[in-house]
Amino acid sequence: MPMRFLIPGPLQPFSGGRSSIAIDTSPSTVAEALAALAALYPGLRERVVTEQGEVRPHVNVFVAEVNIRDARGLETRLPEGCEIAILPNVSGG
């Protein structure tokens, strides 16, 4: 079963309106999955990570229910068929 990205509403203008995107290339890390996502929808990765390849400070990326900041960041390993959820932090003002 392919892994899948869950796309929040504010980013769906860059995913053709899709809220879920399957990745068929069997990436082994979050970084590889984001690279595969960028090949499909380049605007998505740009809004999740900075030019320096770091996850933006007010964005959370969850593999299943684990925030990758609490794991190995972009090098977090992916279980087969997992879901990666991209979520905005609760920050605002």
């Binding site: 509403g9 380049p42 740009e46 809004r47 030019e51 320096q52 933006r56 007010h58 905005p88 003002g93």
Partner: protein, 397 residues
């Protein structure tokens, strides 16, 4: 399940010659238009709701009618977007146009300034960004390049962030001196190039830095805003973090002109489109308070290049008005007489259509205003009469 869905703002119906205001707030961009008499304003927005918009510009060079905006999402980053139909459709490239090269070690935090280039160079446009850097496009905004002359300047490593971050917030294109650019950064100060951005030199002689042991360093000043006179080449007005200055030599030297103002602290400064001796400021009480002194909202205007300043108060609240106008919160249009506009952190937008003599509250209840830009619509196709108007027109013919 979140249930709120914002309706798309209705685009403005604009005609050639209309006055246009771009009002950037902490929660999106608002557009306003009025006939040239500027008596009634229509507005539309917010565009990019939830994103701050510190930078915006109307570019009518080269037959365009383009509005640029720089929405910045706390979550998803900053980007450049544009509309060629006054907000009906916005273009947001998948790959953000302005981005630091990977080997720069920097990431874009915000776009503070969008500055169209000279009229005879209609495909050049600039952006001032945070962290302090200048980007330029030579192809009407399709591609952008980091200005390496400024980025690699040996002073840059010693610039320090101010309250708003380390931002390059002012980009001035001298209309009558080819190749001359002036930029300003907080902190860092003013820098000038005379070779279209290849090389830069500090331009702060006479500008003080009260927050440093050496109050007159070569660089490191916290310049809040510089405006240039379109009517007199080389004349600049500068509102500093403490200090109000004028230069008549393109920034080679600065003269203190805080004559008769309640405070020489403030953020914004605007200049008249035709009279080189007229400028506008909104003094604020100290860097500790940063509100209008004595609860009075007063624009100060000089008609003699800063030798004296007069409080413009008609139509502005003179009691319990502890307002703040930030560095890009003021704009002056080029109509006759010139219109002057400013927005406050409390979301009020004021306008004067008689060069500051009287003021009207144009809008209130907006999110905190961080950017006001004024322009005049051009290159708008004349609307064809349709429906009932068309029938009347045909019948009359």
């Amino acid at each position: 399940m979140p249930a709120t869905k914002l309706a798309a703002p209705a685009p403005l119906s604009v005609r050639d010659g209309d006055a246009i205001l771009l009002v950037g707030t902490m929660k999106g961009l608002f557009l306003l238009r009025a006939k040239p008499d500027r008596r009634r304003w229509e507005s539309s927005g917010p565009f990019f709701p939830g994103s701050s918009v510190y930078g915006a510009a109307l570019d009518t060079r080269g037959g365009r009618r383009r509005i640029w905006a720089a929405p910045s999402s706390m979550h998803w980053g900053a980007e450049l977007a544009w509309t060629d139909d006054f907000g009906k459709n916005w273009s947001r490239p998948a790959t953000p146009l302005v981005r630091f090269p990977e080997d720069s070690g920097a990431s874009l935090k915000n776009i503070w300034q969008i500055a169209p280039g000279r009229g005879d160079d209609p495909d050049t446009i600039y952006c001032g960004v945070e962290p302090s850097a200048l980007f330029a496009s030579r192809d009407a905004g399709k591609t952008w390049q980091l200005n390496t002359g400024l980025w690699n300047h040996p002073h840059r490593a010693k610039w320090m962030p101010g309250g708003g971050g380390l931002c390059l917030h002012t980009v001035l294109v001298e209309p009558s001196i080819p190749g001359r650019l002036t930029v300003a950064s907080s902190t860092g100060g003013a820098y000038r190039s005379d070779d279209a951005g290849k090389s830069w030199r500090a331009s702060n002689r006479g500008v003080r830095a009260e927050f440093l042991p050496d109050q007159h360093p070569e660089f490191g000043q916290c310049v809040h805003k510089i405006a240039h006179s379109a009517a007199r080449p080389g004349r600049l007005f500068l509102q500093n973090h403490w200090g109000l200055y004028r230069s008549d030599d393109g920034g080679d030297s600065w003269k203190d002109i805080a004559n008769g103002v309640p405070s020489d602290f403030g953020f914004c400064v605007g200049t008249h489109p035709r009279d080189p001796d007229t400028a506008f400021i909104v003094p604020l009480h100290s860097d500790g308070f940063r509100c209008t002194p004595d609860g009075k909202l007063r624009v100060y205007r000089t008609r003699d290049a800063g030798e004296s300043w007069q409080a413009m108060t008609r139509g502005l609240p003179q009691k319990d008005a502890f307002e703040t106008v930030v560095r890009d919160g003021m704009a002056v249009d080029r109509l006759e007489p010139a219109g002057v506009y400013f927005g406050t952190r409390s979301g009020k937008l004021y306008g004067s259509r008689d060069e500051g003599r009287t003021w009207e509250l144009l809008r209130e209840g907006l999110p905190p205003i961080v950017c006001v830009k004024a322009g005049v619509a051009d290159n708008v196709k004349a609307a064809r009469p349709t429906g009932a108007i068309a029938k009347r027109t045909r019948k009359a013919a």
